[in-house]
Symmetry: C4
Subunit: 279 residues, 4 copies
């Protein structure tokens, strides 16, 4: 397999370049530059600056395209390249940036996709990648709590739009709008204004708001407590078991030595027995 080994040695050079601090730094610098041009475009700019930014944008797009191609070539296993979520993400963002900005129809979509280039910072910095991974791991844990929350919001929204639609069509018109209003209440955002309005017609409607706030706050609190405990106990469990093993191994080894000594002693005692009594 000379060609394979050749290619492998070639790609190992590429990989050494890829993982060099200079290359990484250059990519990070270009991403930050890209972020700055995105931010700059939200300001009023003179045509001259606008044109410069356009050229810069093309240059950045080309750089990112070359960088992803380079990383693809440097990757020893081409199939596994697209099994990594971060590579797929990078590729989509880069391909999305190829949409030209002068086409008046797709201009908004093109600009939107360019914004996501900033997220490439996450895929490039290993610490942020690790952070995101650990955040993603926390999601399933919250799945059923989120479902429960949704059910509570839905029931309260259905009741709310049933009773309060007449009070304020904008806030309680239908179940979707009511859920948005309830989310507002859950964030305590001017929730008393909402309550005082409905209390004009339904004087007891404060029960509705208070039970809702207590329910959501109670579930949220328990969710947080649960999250802390779950991560903690799983992590600690592993750590403690490991530590206990390490510590006790010393005792076990010492006990092994004791048993060894005893065995030797027993042999010595037996060897001492007069020959006539041995049989």
């Amino acid at each position: 397999m000379p060609p394979a080994s050749l290619s492998s040695s070639g790609s190992s050079v590429l990989r050494r370049i890829e993982s060099s601090r200079l290359f990484q730094g250059a990519v990070i610098a270009i991403i930050i530059l890209s972020a700055l041009t995105i931010g700059a475009k939200t300001y009023e700019l003179s045509p001259w600056v606008e044109r410069t930014l356009g050229i810069l944008d093309t240059a950045i797009t080309v750089f990112f395209l070359l960088e992803i191609l380079f990383r693809f070539v440097a990757c020893p296993d081409k199939r596994r390249f697209f099994l990594d979520g971060w590579n797929i993400f990078d590729t989509i963002v880069v391909i999305g940036s190829l949409i030209p900005l002068d086409n008046s129809e797709a201009v908004l979509l093109g600009r939107l996709l360019r914004v996501f280039r900033v997220l490439r910072l996450v895929s490039v910095l290993p610490e942020l990648r690790f952070l995101i991974n650990s955040l993603l791991k926390a999601i399933p844990r919250m799945g059923y709590i989120a479902l429960l929350m949704f059910i509570i919001f839905y029931i309260y929204a259905a009741i709310g739009s049933m009773f309060f639609a007449g009070v304020d069509e904008y806030l309680w018109g239908d179940v979707a709008v009511s859920m948005l209003t309830l989310f507002r209440v859950a964030t305590f955002e001017d929730w008393t204004d909402v309550m005082y309005a409905t209390m004009e017609l339904h004087p007891l409607s404060w029960i509705y708001y208070l039970t809702f706030i207590f329910l959501t706050a109670f579930i949220f609190l328990n969710m947080m407590v649960g999250a802390i405990l779950e991560v903690m106990s799983s992590e600690q469990n592993a750590r403690e078991v490991q530590q206990a093993h390490d510590e006790r191994d010393r005792i076990v080894h010492q006990l092994d030595a004791v048993q060894e000594q005893l065995r030797a002693l027993t042999l010595a005692v037996q060897a001492q027995q007069p020959p006539d009594r041995r049989a």
Copy 2:
């Protein structure tokens, strides 16, 4: 007991149907459909859709009635069926749905009871049932904190309506209304508006608000810390004791072996003694 065994074998078939994934899936699908019809009714609808929803509602009610009867028949012990809180809850919700929606007087009650059908999702999904059970377990722990909070709210409300009733009858009219206002202050909802109004007449009333906010926040914080610690320590305690036992059992067993060796050795030494010295 042939009839009993017959019925038992019959009900075991029913139970197998009941716990089948298909049956569970059908029930969940119907509950979600029911939730959607409830949501749909909060929108402006054409008479044709309205009529279809009415028919759908009847069909869902009949399905739920049949489902609960089926589960009752499938249950091996009829008495224990109604000892399970979830079964009682399901039965009440289903019976409540039997109230006809065309009767103009009971229409609101009927619609309200139909909303609670969505809660059946909780009783059907075991994960949500488990979640609710663990939440219910957390309630007693918070009982005395809630009482303490109520006492603080009551005292501040009594003082508030004593001093500030003249400032704003709507906010401080009586002790009940004052408690609602204080709850608003506790959620930081436009609390400075309330304070600035009373500070016009009572320039030192900021003391009232600040002590109240500090007290409630302090108790809330401690409650949360307490909740985390209580659940944690009880859980961890059990885990650690178990683990410590497991680990130490190994050492104890090894020590047992050492003692066994020593006993054998002692016997060997004693056996070695000349016969004349044994007596």
Copy 3:
């Protein structure tokens, strides 16, 4: 000491009465009744009800007076009675209630002191008393954090009133008023209104608000984390040390037994030595 023993047997009867569930229940009932009359007085009442409440108030005052005297007599050690903070608290509240309500000048003070009767519920219920004690224990832990917070508030308030007094005299007039405004900002209560107003004159004043919010939130967060950790580690430490001792004691005892066996074995071996070699 016959008189002493007589009095002691008499006071033991009183103490049995005092700690009886009936007596405790009666006291709790009267406190709740007292709380209700306090609440009732905040409503508009007919003269007839008002008069009834007045009589009820006198009756409650007399009852509380008798109760505290009874508890004082029932107390075996009169000196220690006033060393207990709860007894002092009860006595002050009861004596405060003796201020007559018809005297027009002291009427507000009298009513205020009557409000604190509700707090007697805390001194009567042991669970609440325990809760308050554990809350009081948490205060010193927060002492230096509170001082640090005060310093930060003071510095920001001094800077605020230095720069923003011209913008809004009411919010930033002097250092005291500025601290109140900053507390408002810390609770996120319409803080952007305050910021937008000062940004008109000082466009960079958002730095002031953001650094302040980050500082207070950061310190608050760390305080909470610290509180959880401190309580936890002290509690857990005690628990773990205890448990570790219990578990290890078994191993240590077994090792003692091993050493005992070894000593016996050594003696047996020495006893076996021929008499001539012993000296």
Copy 4:
């Protein structure tokens, strides 16, 4: 080295003075006095009081100057004096106070620097110094979370100013202003007003706000959980390992004794062997 020992004995006297409770108390008292004069200046004052405060200010500046010189002289190692961050901080604050207050141009800067004298309380009280040090230690832990938060804010701000700049130039004009608006949304400060305004033009913009709130709340929550866990596990780890060592050391020592006994016993048994069998 007589001169060195002389100077060292002289500085040890100074150091004894420096660490005396009286000296410390005087410094704290002067700092508090300094804080009060800073606060007093924010009020409307009569010219007489103003003049007195001016004299007081000069006196405090002189006192602080003498104190820092004294501490510098008392310090045995002059080089290490400026390696301590607290000393550098004190020196800068004191030198900053030397700016005269009557110079009309630098008056604001001079007053601002005088405000920071209050912070000297932190450098003087060891408990606050310890607190600040532990807070500073918590910062790096939050570094990458802060970066992630900034990226999310930046992306949302870029999208926001792209779509909503036409709705409200003041809130969404450019990327910087949008980030401020998003920070407002993250603190739930009248965020629905912002949302309802943009929903007029973009009815689906609630998705923008809800995803933003969920993302920031989710990351914040995880950051808090992470902070609790990290501090806890590192602290607990150290504590547990220490405790486990202490406890197990006892067992290990006892096992050493057992092995010693066994060694002695083996020697005894070997000594017992008849001389002819020894070789």
